[in-house]
Subunit: 342 residues, 2 copies
DNA sequence: AGACCGCAGTCAAGCGGTTAACCCAATACG
DNA sequence: CGTATTGGGTTAACCGCTTGACTGCGGTCT
């Protein structure tokens, strides 16, 4: 009841173990004739090499680890879902497998994030967007593991990252809104991430640069989940504190949708009374009423590229990887010139 | 720049390789004193055993594979998310890792579903709810791999499964609605799964058993995605074809929510004009207006148990595993007695 | 003709663990 | 006192594959 191994194939063909191995690894050192014989035997036995043995000998597990934050329904979040899909597809196309990890307390306390690489369980690790609180990431500073932050970064370290260019998205959003004539804008910011802060600062800078007075950009914090509820509450706060704003900019679509719901339930019309804009371009953004103007962020592509980079890092084809991917304005119906401009 | 291995530890302590190995595997054959010495060295070097080597020698990769269907946003689906979370948590608590797989064309054509087990990449496999079209699953019939269908089953095979008791949920739903006095009910069924068909048949049976006439249970097919849009369209069809129904039963919450949206946009009130009921109890069900009456399905628990079973199958502690997990009625505001009963 | 050079394979030393079988001193027992 | 048992380790044979070094050989170059 034993599984067939490489030596069964070798015996069957009357060649050595190494020959079979070389055939299986597409080495050019084997003649076409021998190769065909070996492959026929492989086919005949339905032979599949044992990945553990292969990994042990070759020092490559052909597996990457994807680490997602420990959030309530992280496996039901389109934001993470898109990135994971991108990673999975790229990995799969290159005969890699994806291992899942959740950065929960156990993961951090036991320092599993280091052990996973140390135990050679995976060739590389991808950390999807965690928050500023995840200071343990600093431990990777100085190590030369195939390690990549996906859609976030860690200041003052040499950690590799690939992420959406949030500053640029902020600029695009600011230009769109100011271009329509808005100059008193409420910003629902996400401040528990470095990218969220960058977005906030870049947005304010871009607005003032285009003629808004800094005090007319009213900032409120969304909340740590960046959820619809957070957006709802933030809009409530924003509108109760300053009635004069003509537009709300949210740091992601979910909060924008929550804000829109608040605005609607309070008898205001979007975009006639107030413009609302988000960031990310999640599928739902298309189906809100009115459709949500947002900055499209190619998260699937980001995931694919992240996986590509981490494999290059593993193979030593890359020393450091730091990339920014630009978003693009996606204009829908939730933004329009303010009332007094029409 | 080599990693520390088991022999480094052995040398440091002046014991043999096997002693270290036995300590690491909690063998009772080593004295407390020696054990302490070894563990101290392990600590000192920050040693972590190489999992590939361990897997090769011990014939266990301490990893399970989770296969999800190839759907549009499967990594962003609360239904799959809950199950995966359950699997992940159980696995993680037992020092297992989770490998991800998507049953896409490549996966099926290359018969990867067999290779993953053959190549010993994983100890067990969990297939989350696929449809009746996934006939390739039949190939597992007769094999004694640690293999489990999660929340579906395959008739006329010996494939192991663990799933929600959909027939029972159908009965509970039918009893709730008929109990309120409904006897003309529209059913939005999901018919591309065996469990969906069972649900439909059991629902009809339970209704007729409780006095409804079979022709008053109007059945329409939802669609292959079981999505809100599917529910929306199905409700439209249902209400245009038979105005007399007083309740709509959907085979899952998402379709129920879609149906509710249709009903609302057409000026009818839930539950005054028509009752609506779903199945699953996803988080959104709590936040609809009115709150959706549904049958709660413990998907997280299902995932946990599924992982437990598959590991027991792997260790040979279980020969076959076939389990049903019961749902429980979750009464909210979307169901009430029909107009003529009040 | 002799040195040299691929070409097509083979040899054998790993990769880093696990575990059945064995070994030896100390204790238990008749 | 001789023998069986047991606690605590060790030995060595794998697990199944990769890969650098080596070999034999026919053809090239000088």
């Amino acid at each position: 009841m034993k599984r067939t191994t490489i030596s069964d194939i070798a015996r069957e063909c009357g060649v050595s173990l190494s020959t079979v191995s070389l055939v299986l690894n597409n080495s050019p050192r084997i003649s076409a004739k021998t190769r065909a014989r070996v492959l026929a035997a492989v086919e005949k036995f339905g032979y599949q090499p044992n990945m553990q043995a292969r990994a042990l000998a070759s020092r490559s597990s052909r597996m990457v680890s994807v680490v997602v934050p420990h959030l309530r329904h992280v496996f039901a979040d389109i934001y993470f879902g898109e990135i994971v899909s991108g990673i999975y597809d790229y990995a799969s196309e290159h005969d890699y497998k994806v291992m899942l990890d959740v950065a929960n307390r156990k993961f951090v306390q036991n320092r599993e994030y280091l052990n996973i690489l140390k135990t050679r369980r995976v060739d590389g690790m991808l950390f999807i967007a965690s928050s500023m609180e995840d200071t343990y990431l600093k431990e990777f500073d100085g190590r030369k593991d195939a390690f990549l932050l996906v859609n976030h970064y860690y200041p003052d370290t040499d950690l590799n990252y690939i992420m959406i260019d949030y500053k640029d998205s902020a600029r695009q959003a600011a230009e769109h809104l100011t271009g329509l004539g808005h100059c008193r804008i409420g910003l629902i910011a996400g401040v528990n991430t470095y990218t969220g802060r960058d977005f906030r600062d870049a947005f304010i800078a871009a607005c003032t640069c285009r003629g808004c007075r800094e005090k007319d950009i009213v900032v409120t914090e969304g909340g740590r989940d960046w959820s619809q509820e957070d957006g709802f509450r933030a809009a409530e706060k924003l509108l109760s504190e300053s009635q004069s704003i003509t537009a709300i900019m949210a740091a992601n679509d979910r909060m924008a949708i929550g804000a829109m719901r608040y605005v609607h339930t309070h008898g205001l019309k979007v975009p006639e009374d107030i413009s609302i804009m988000g960031v990310d371009d999640i599928p739902d953004a298309r189906f809100t009423t009115p459709g949500l103007t947002t900055v499209h962020h190619p998260l699937y592509t980001l995931g694919r590229r992240a996986c590509e980079v981490v494999l290059q890092l593993f193979r030593g084809e890359l020393d450091a990887g730091r990339e920014l991917i630009a978003g693009a304005l996606s204009k829908r119906e939730s933004t329009a010139p303010p009332r007094d401009m029409r």
